[in-house]
């Protein structure tokens, strides 16, 4: 229990107090210590990546070996790709012009772009569901959305020119700059204060659930 609870708590307490002090103390001594701690974080991150890779390979290997799983071929492809990229990286290097880099740019990057482009379709389907006029709040959302969308396209200006006194782009700017910013800042202030409280509870060991293996209390 000492290694599972007390040691993580002491490390968290020490690092929490150090980080708090670092924010207010610009002295070179603190800066040097911070740089050293940052280096430790990079080293730990590198080690953790190896642990992560082992975990991923173990998970997909188990899936690939489960004959009853109809999706096991996807896991096989994943494992083959992981090892193939690692081997190619070791042989050709990862600099621009290497096979590894070419594979990354011509296979990985387009795949990622494809996933990103799915957003536009998902935005349409999400908008279709959320803009249904079910209540007064939903009505306000629908009204604001119509204004903002109209202002984004030339139609907004055309309608504004046709109806005297109506300026859709101006209403859009007001909606985005005032009600929207006010709501966002309210959330941000809450988040900032919540962060202080959460950090305090973790640093002082009041909330031990994040200490690995503590089992919640």
């Amino acid at each position: 229990m000492f290694l599972k609870k007390t040691v993580p708590f002491l490390i968290t307490l020490g690092m929490g107090l150090f980080t708090f002090t670092y924010y207010f103390v610009p002295h070179k001594l603190m800066q040097n210590m911070w740089d050293m701690v940052s280096d430790w974080a990079i080293i730990i991150g590198g080690g953790a990546l190896a642990v992560g890779a082992v975990s991923m390979i173990r998970t997909y290997y188990k899936k690939a070996m489960t004959k009853s799983d109809p999706n096991r071929y996807y896991s096989m492809i994943t494992i083959v790709c992981v090892f193939l990229m690692a081997i190619i990286g070791f042989i050709t290097g990862i600099k621009p012009g290497s096979l590894f880099n070419d594979l990354f740019i011509h296979v990985m990057a387009p795949c990622e772009s494809t996933m990103f482009s799915l957003l536009s379709f998902y935005i349409a389907s999400a908008a279709f569901r959320s803009f249904r006029l079910k209540s007064f709040s939903a009505g306000l959302l629908l009204f604001s959305a119509i204004i903002v969308m109209l202002a984004q396209i030339p139609t907004g200006e055309t309608i504004s020119a046709a109806i005297p006194g109506l300026n859709i782009p101006l209403i859009k700017t007001w909606l985005l700059n005032y009600p929207n910013v006010a709501a966002q800042r309210a959330i941000l202030i809450g988040v900032a204060i919540g962060s202080v409280a959460t950090a305090l509870k973790i640093i002082l060991g009041i909330d031990k659930s994040v200490f690995a293996g503590a089992g919640g209390k």
Binding site: V25, G45, S55, C111, V191, S195, V210
Partner: protein
């Protein structure tokens, strides 16, 4: 008396003449609130003819142990100040002079030597005094309420529908015999939202372990993976069923944002989970995950402190924990009075912040000076 007046007049004329002759003034000081090795220089050139002919200013410096002046910077003629951070040593006196040069590089005007100026490292950033004061006030209030809760004082905290929904979703998944997918977001372990998510995960995992249902946790960050793995394993150990824990259900997926979105979307499509939890920090992949999850028909509970992603979760998920509600969820799911006390204290800190904002706003309206400095703080 007349002679005395004449003498004063002559002295005044001489003084004026001397000042107008001194066409250059330079002041230097240690850069305040910094880690040292920096001197702030500022100057005033009274002779307009130099400005007209010169194109550049060359800054020369000589340290205590150096024999000659070295050029440290070349500046535009319109420059009026310069922070010298070019290899300065702390607590060492430095002398400076400036040369004004024309387009062909010829010296138009060379100033006298100024100094010595000394750079030092500060132990406290005075610009952050207000931040420090408010931090201590916030810490005091939160600890006060934690202490009150510890002593047994009943504190009311508004229940959150999203938190109740998390518990219901776990029960629903168990009844349906389907797994649950829990994504702790795509941030690192030092992020408060990730820590809050892990706190919720520990409670969810305890219930899952107790009911014997299945929880799948794909991770974006390897360090976060190491922690979530131990947290879920710990929950199984705590419930007395360590053998029921499957290490392959808590795994590291990838550190590429859209590869992660793709991986989790595929996982949800294949496993058809009864409940999806997206709790932590998310970016553009939030809607991809939420919409892909919605297509599987699972109950979806999301929570993030990323303000730009909250709207996406609200429209695509059944329940959303907005901003700080994510931090509160872990405390509300448990029965630890101290955590509830922390939440109550947090609410009172918010009240103090609101009162301060209103008071400072009113003072600003009445033109009281220095309000901007208090509000803006410093870096």
């Amino acid at each position: 008396m007349k002679n005395l007046l004449r003498l004063l007049l002559i002295l005044l004329v001489i003084s004026f003449a001397f000042n107008s002759y001194s066409s250059f003034e330079l002041s230097g000081k240690d850069t305040p609130n910094d880690k040292g090795s920096s001197i702030d220089l500022s100057w005033k050139l009274n002779d307009k003819s130099i400005v007209k002919t010169a194109l550049n200013i060359f800054v020369f410096r000589k340290g205590e142990n150096e024999s000659v002046f070295k050029k440290v910077k070349e500046l535009d003629i319109s420059t009026k100040k310069y922070s010298d951070k070019n290899g300065l040593e702390d607590n060492t006196p430095y002398l400076y002079y400036l040369e004004f040069r024309d387009i062909s590089g010829d010296v138009v005007y060379k100033t006298q030597q100024f100094g010595p100026f000394i750079a030092t490292s500060q132990w406290f950033n005075s610009k952050k005094m207000m931040t420090l004061c408010f931090s201590f006030l916030a810490i005091f209030i939160i600890l006060l309420f934690i202490n009150l809760a510890k002593k047994g004082r009943k504190l009311y905290v508004r229940p959150l529908p999203g938190v109740q929904a998390i518990e219901d979703a776990v029960g629903r998944a168990t009844e349906m015999g389907k797994p649950m997918v829990y994504s702790p977001g795509i941030s690192v372990i030092s992020d408060i939202s990730t820590l809050a998510s892990i706190s919720i995960l520990s409670k969810v995992a305890e219930t899952v372990a107790e009911f014997g249902s299945r929880l799948i946790v794909p991770n974006y960050d390897p360090i976060v993976y190491s922690v979530t793995d131990e947290v879920v394993r710990g929950a199984y150990v705590k419930s007395g069923r360590p053998d029921a824990y499957k290490p392959e259900d808590v795994y590291f997926l990838t550190q590429r944002q859209f590869a992660y979105a793709s991986g989790v979307s595929g996982l949800m499509a294949r496993e058809k989970p009864a409940a999806n939890f997206f709790l932590g920090y998310f970016m553009a992949e939030s809607l991809i995950l939420a919409e892909a999850g919605a297509m599987t028909g699972a109950i979806q509970i999301a929570g993030t402190d990323s303000t730009s992603q909250i709207p996406f979760f609200i429209v695509a998920c059944d329940y959303t924990l907005i901003g700080e509600e994510l931090y509160a969820a872990g405390a509300l799911m448990g029965d630890d009075a101290r955590l509830i006390g922390g939440l109550k204290g947090q609410d009172y800190v918010k009240l103090v912040a609101m009162i301060m904002l209103i008071v400072l706003f009113v003072l600003k309206l009445f033109g009281v000076p220095g309000i901007d400095t208090i509000l803006a703080g410093g870096n």
